[in-house]
């Protein structure tokens, strides 16, 4: 295919790596919006998710919110927010739209991470004399980490893909090269940039997968099938036959 070869040549050309509008600059802008949006989303969603998971209040309401927020079209939301907040606040408008997109998976991850911990584990911690704060920090936080991080990972993937849209309101990012390339019929530029976004998403996802593995306490690791079964045995000890527990210890 010609387009693949042309996109490849475009990606290899030295002009793409120097001066204004270079690929590294666009990747930087793209990552900026991803990181800022994820930071705000985590700031809101993680405490909220833990609160709901810890107290068990508001679960149904959360499901509704998560579902409806996921249905919001980000492109429309960005344009609407730019018009409502004014063009001079377009950066805030774009970040808000991305935060709205990122909150549901992070919230669901935090909430279900805490909720899936068996009551018996928390009761045991309480029986040992842990304070509520200790339970949160030493029991709930580590045990919920795998699900929280998987929610976070899902959110990052969505945000990095959707940050492409901020270029529509003049905020740059990799999307700029795409929305400029289409009307100019520069398909090497359009396709080449799309590849960069794909690679960026895969790299971030792989990095987060690695981080999840490192950050997860050994007892709750989910990296192998055996480990998953071992973790399930932690959740529902009565139902898991002994051999899977052995698998998990290999």
């Amino acid at each position: 295919m010609d387009i693949i070869r042309e996109a490849w040549e475009w990606l290899l050309a030295v002009e793409q790596y120097q001066g204004p509008g270079s690929i590294p600059q666009r990747v930087g802008e793209h990552l900026y919006f991803t990181v800022v949006s994820m930071a705000w989303a985590s700031l809101v969603a993680v405490p909220l998710g833990y609160f709901i998971g810890h107290t068990g209040k508001g679960g149904g309401w959360l499901v509704g919110l998560t579902g409806s927020a996921r249905a919001l079209p980000s492109f429309g939301l960005i344009l609407l927010l730019v018009l409502v907040l004014g063009v001079s606040n377009r950066e805030a408008a774009a970040v808000i739209a991305l935060v709205v997109l990122a909150i549901p998976p992070v919230l669901a991850g935090a909430y279900s991470g805490v909720q899936q911990i068996p009551r018996s584990v928390i009761d045991a911690a309480r029986a040992q004399g842990m304070t509520e704060l200790q339970i949160l920090l030493r029991v709930e936080l580590p045990l919920s980490l795998p699900l929280l991080l998987s929610g976070f990972r899902q959110a990052v993937l969505q945000v990095v893909a959707t940050a492409t849209l901020v270029a529509y309101v003049g905020l740059g990012g990799l999307g700029y090269e795409i929305i400029q390339g289409i009307p100019l019929r520069r398909f090497d530029q359009t396709f080449g940039t799309a590849l960069v976004i794909v690679v960026l998403a895969l790299v971030l996802d792989a990095a987060l997968a690695w981080a999840t593995k490192v950050a997860t306490p050994r007892g709750v690791r989910v990296s192998t099938i055996g480990d998953v079964r071992a973790r399930e045995s932690l959740v529902q000890p009565a139902e898991v036959p002994a051999p899977s527990v052995m698998l998990g210890t290999k």
């Binding site: 344009l79 730019v82 018009l83 377009r90 003049g170 929305i179 400029q180 009307p183 100019l184």
Partner: protein, 291 residues
């Protein structure tokens, strides 16, 4: 920049998908008397398409309407294959589609080049004086403060920030053209769909707005005269299947003649401010112009 265009482009994509799905049955063209009139996902374009359709119906043709197909990449293959027989187009923008690096700017040059560039099987009928093309605009206050009437007057102004669609940055009449032709230095901000809002809020002070956009009048923007012919002219022109060019010209040429630049702005204004359907706007226009 063209907010009506983008709001409807989503509808256009949906419509285009519908077309793709239904396209299998649609095929045969030229064999019957049915004329298939298409339009872009841009409401102003649909109004012109509807004017063509009603005029063709009045002339005794059977017309099938396929509006809101979307952008050129979506509908040009339909035109080239003959699935769509009549399409309202813009000389400059269509020329750019076929020859992206064209240097023609004046209406007649552009039209002549377009006729060369069109693939076999497609013909451009006579173009209208109505245009819907790039134009450089400033707010009335900015024009008064800096004494501006033409693009050339910008040469002495510092701190200019030009806003427009992302592709303007690379167009021959974009920042590079402003510098080469007029000696005007601008920074570029790809304000895209929010260009008019950006101009009004002062984020930019020079805006590329399409000349038939009713918001130029609505916000009292000043369009700077292009005295050196930098900007690509883009006149409304019917693109038709060559086999039918001669007979269709008899119906559509008088329409193109009657459609003026001011008339096109007025048509767009009616769709924006009165929220009328393209059928109503087209019917009124045809009656008012004696068709």
């Amino acid at each position: 920049m063209r907010s009506i265009r983008t709001k409807l482009s989503i509808a256009g994509i949906v419509a285009a998908l519908g077309l793709v799905l239904s396209g299998c049955q649609g095929g045969s063209v030229g064999s019957s008397d049915t004329i298939v009139v298409g339009s872009q996902g841009y409401y102003s374009n649909e109004i012109i398409a509807e004017i063509y359709s009603q005029a063709l119906e009045a002339a005794g043709y059977e017309v099938e309407r396929r509006y809101q197909i979307g952008q050129r990449d979506a509908y040009v293959p339909e035109l080239e294959s003959g699935a769509v027989t009549v399409f309202p187009e813009y000389t400059g923008n269509l020329l750019q589609f076929y020859s992206p690096d064209t240097l023609a700017t004046k209406p007649d040059e552009v039209f002549a080049e377009l006729q060369e560039a069109l693939p076999e099987g497609l013909s451009a009928l006579a173009m209208s004086s109505a245009t819907d093309q790039d134009s450089y605009n400033v707010t009335a206050e900015f024009a008064a403060a800096n004494n501006l009437t033409s693009i050339a007057d910008l040469a002495g102004v510092s701190g200019l920030i030009l806003g427009g669609n992302a592709e303007l940055e690379e167009r021959p009449y974009g920042p590079m053209g402003l510098l080469e032709t007029y000696g005007v230095t601008v920074a570029f901000d790809a304000t895209g769909d929010a260009t008019v809002e950006a101009l009004n809020s002062g984020v930019i002070n020079l805006a590329n707005v399409y000349s038939a956009d009713p918001r130029i009048a609505e916000f009292g923007l000043i369009t700077l005269a292009d005295t050196e012919g930098l900007i690509l002219a883009s006149n409304v022109v019917p693109i038709v299947n060559s086999a039918l060019a001669e007979e269709l010209a008899a119906v559509l040429d008088p329409i193109s003649k009657a459609l003026t630049p001011e008339g096109l702005v007025a048509l767009n204004l009616r769709s924006v401010s009165e929220q009328l359907s393209s059928a109503e706007i087209a019917a009124t226009w045809l009656a008012d112009n004696g068709f």
